[in-house]
């Protein structure tokens, strides 16, 4: 589904990603872990299409298409979803209105007509329940005045509404208490299918108790320095990132 080859990216002339290689197949959950400043968020930003990052080398193929050639919206329409580490507040834009516009633009891209109002409402109701999001939140302005936990749940709610093929969760666990973490993880797990894939980016292992990865990768200084199964995450938690630093001889 997703194939990242030798990806290099920099911001303001400073190289952050220095040759990332990653293969993600449908049905898989990959965790990317790493210490602060290792390039985790840069990777998610580059995949989502943030313009301030410059890709200096490498390629990303998503379902046969050159992902990096696509605008952010076309990436979303192709089925890439980024759950933001810091979801943006947009006063005055209702969550529901915005999602309807998003859904319809994605549908139009795929040659489908706009969704019927009653089907849309049904979908909203169903997906809200999935992340235990109150109806009143869905009707409010996007993320405005939401608590940290509500913002993250809103991200997963949007993900549920848009049904992406590849979901990238960028430190979705940061700032979440354990109850909110369970709700968010539960939502993600329910959305898992043999046809879609998930990349979970996190600093801590805890989230991976709830969203169990098939593969764990350690990102350090802009490269994946170690890959393994979920046991690797436990090892990292136990030994800390220093052991990776020693291993790669930094």
């Amino acid at each position: 589904m997703l194939s990242i080859k030798n990806l290099h990216a920099s911001i303001d002339g400073k190289e952050i990603l220095r040759g990332i290689n990653l293969e993600v197949k449908a049905g898989e959950v990959h965790a990317i872990m790493g210490p602060n400043g290792s390039g985790k968020s840069t990777l998610s930003s580059v995949l989502a299409g943030r313009e301030e990052y410059e890709v200096t080398a490498g390629e990303v193929i998503f379902n046969g298409k050159e992902l990096l050639e696509l605008s952010p919206e076309d990436r979303a329409r192709e089925g890439v979803f980024l759950a933001f580490q810091y979801p943006i507040e947009i006063p005055g834009v209702s969550n529901i209105n915005f999602l309807k516009t998003a859904l319809n633009e994605i549908r139009a891209y795929r040659g489908l007509g706009p969704i019927e109002a009653k089907d849309f409402l049904k979908l909203v109701k169903e997906k809200q329940a999935l992340v235990e999001l109150q109806g009143s939140l869905a009707n409010r302005s996007v993320n405005e005045g939401f608590s940290g936990g509500e913002k993250k749940r809103n991200e997963i709610f949007q993900m549920a509404m848009l049904e992406p093929k590849l979901a990238i969760l960028d430190e979705t666990d940061s700032g979440l208490d354990i109850d909110a973490l369970r709700i968010v993880a539960n939502g993600v797990n329910k959305l898992k299918s043999p046809d879609n894939a998930t990349i979970v980016i996190t600093h801590y292992q805890r989230l991976l108790d709830y969203i169990v990865p098939d593969f764990v990768h350690v990102l350090y200084k802009g490269q994946i320095v170690k890959s393994g199964t979920k046991e690797l995450a436990l090892e990292l938690e136990e030994k800390g990132y220093d052991f990776i630093k020693e291993e790669v001889g930094a």
Binding site: E73, F81, I90, G92, V93, L162
Partner: protein, 432 residues
């Protein structure tokens, strides 16, 4: 030998006064005082502190007539009526047009008529208020308007009357020659009465430069509630100087929302005097500018008495080479203790060539007050745009959605559903 004599516009305006003096209605002494004030002040040039961003000496260059009769049929202006169910007074090139107006079946307690008719039939009330609040010595255009205005609208709401349907004062410019028009409204809302008034400025088949110097005096008596709206939707050849002078008495509520959607040069002078205790004033505005348009909003909220609240929010979206100015003064006088006065001006600049001048001015002479002001100017928030795009919205629809959201804070304060729907549609169309 040939001599070239060049008459300045100021002299021409003064000449027009002398010429039309015999036919004027109303108080000759007030007009005489006004023309003297105009002689003293002239037209504001670049050095005039209150007009420094609009050089009217330059803007008004040209040759003008002072009236133009143009016949319009009702079906030609259907789309300008805005409200299906309203009392409508229509003015074409500043002249009251009874055929186009819809003033049959006025309810008890409501008078709407032309100013000359008001001077004739309602002399006592008119003379009690006319030109008593808009000070000819305070502003060049008030002086000019008071000296030259020959027509306009008189609205009177009797004590305790609640006027359910909105009143719409519709001004249409329709001409083929350059014009300077001076129109004047007087609105008197008596004690405990309630009314909604919409003033709109439109054009129809306009091919020339029309300068409209329109003034309204609005008197809001104790416990009265007035909702006032202005919709300015003229053409890029139009110049509109629009003064709204409000006097509020105790426990009254006055709310005004000013929409500038189109126009070449638009200057709004909104002056509100809070002349009693426990008054509430709400001033909101939205201006959307493009091309070479210049829109300048000057507001003055004058807190004279204790325990009053005023709340002001002006927002603008500025595109191309247009220039928008906001100058908001708040006076809190010595006696106006326990005043709450808030002001905010927010702008979005869409282009690199647009200009925003924003200047809040607070002068506070009382010591127990809550006052605040804030301004912000910026581009559309790139993070917000990216967030929306990351969910599949095109860049264009993301920006449209954000501009709409920005504008909706002002639009949502409109309490007349039909007017709000109209504005929503106009604003949406602008962002297409």
């Amino acid at each position: 030998m040939e001599t070239i004599t060049k008459t300045s516009l100021k002299d021409k305006l003064i000449g027009q006064y002398e010429l039309t003096k015999p036919s004027f209605v109303g108080d000759a002494a007030i007009r005489e005082m006004a023309i003297n004030a105009f002689v003293k002040q002239g037209l504001p040039g670049r050095k005039h502190e209150e007009y420094k961003y609009l050089n009217f000496e330059l803007i008004l260059k040209g040759d003008y007539s002072f009236s133009h009769s143009h016949s319009l049929a009702a079906q030609q202006i259907q789309s300008l009526y805005l409200l299906k169910d309203a009392y409508v007074a229509v003015f074409v090139n500043g002249q009251f047009n009874s055929n186009l107006s819809k003033l049959n079946d006025l309810p008890k307690g409501l008078i709407i008529c032309s100013l000359p008719e008001a001077f004739e039939k309602h002399k006592t009330i008119v003379e009690q208020h006319y030109a008593k609040h808009a000070d000819v010595n305070a502003d060049n255009f008030i002086a000019l308007n008071t000296a030259l205005a020959s027509d306009g609208c008189f609205v009177h709401v009797s004590k305790g009357a609640i006027i359910e349907k909105p009143i719409h004062l519709l001004y249409i410019s329709s001409a083929t020659e350059n014009l300077i028009l001076n129109s004047r409204n007087l609105v008197v809302v008596e004690e405990n009465a309630q009314v909604k008034i919409v003033e709109s400025f439109e054009v129809k088949d306009l091919t020339s430069k029309v300068v409209t110097n329109a003034s309204s005096e609005i008197v809001v008596m104790p416990n009265a509630i007035v909702d006032h709206y202005k919709v300015q939707n003229e053409s890029e050849q139009s110049i509109l100087i629009n003064t709204t002078q409000v006097y509020q008495e105790k426990q009254s509520v006055f709310s005004t929302v000013n929409f500038t959607l189109n126009g070449g040069v638009v200057r709004n002078n909104l002056n509100i005097v809070l002349g009693g205790e426990y008054i509430e004033s709400h001033l909101n505005g939205l201006y959307l500018t493009k091309n070479n348009q210049q829109v300048d909003n000057h507001t003055l909220v004058d807190h004279r008495m204790p325990n009053c609240n005023s709340n002001e929010l002006y927002k603008g979206i500025i595109d191309d080479k247009s220039v928008a100015t906001f100058n908001g003064k708040i006076y809190v006088r010595k006696d106006a203790q326990k005043t709450n006065a808030f002001q905010s001006n927010k702008n979005i600049l869409l282009s690199d060539d647009g200009t925003i001048n924003t200047k809040p001015q607070l002068e506070i002479y009382a010591d127990d007050v809550k006052c605040s002001h804030g301004t912000s100017t910026g581009k559309l928030d790139e993070d917000q745009v990216f967030y929306l795009r990351a969910r599949g919205l095109s860049e264009t629809s993301a920006k449209k959605l954000l501009m709409h959201a920005f504008a909706s804070e002002v639009v949502s304060t409109v309490k007349i559903d039909e007017l709000r729907d109209y504005l929503e549609a106009e604003i949406s169309a602008r962002f297409e």
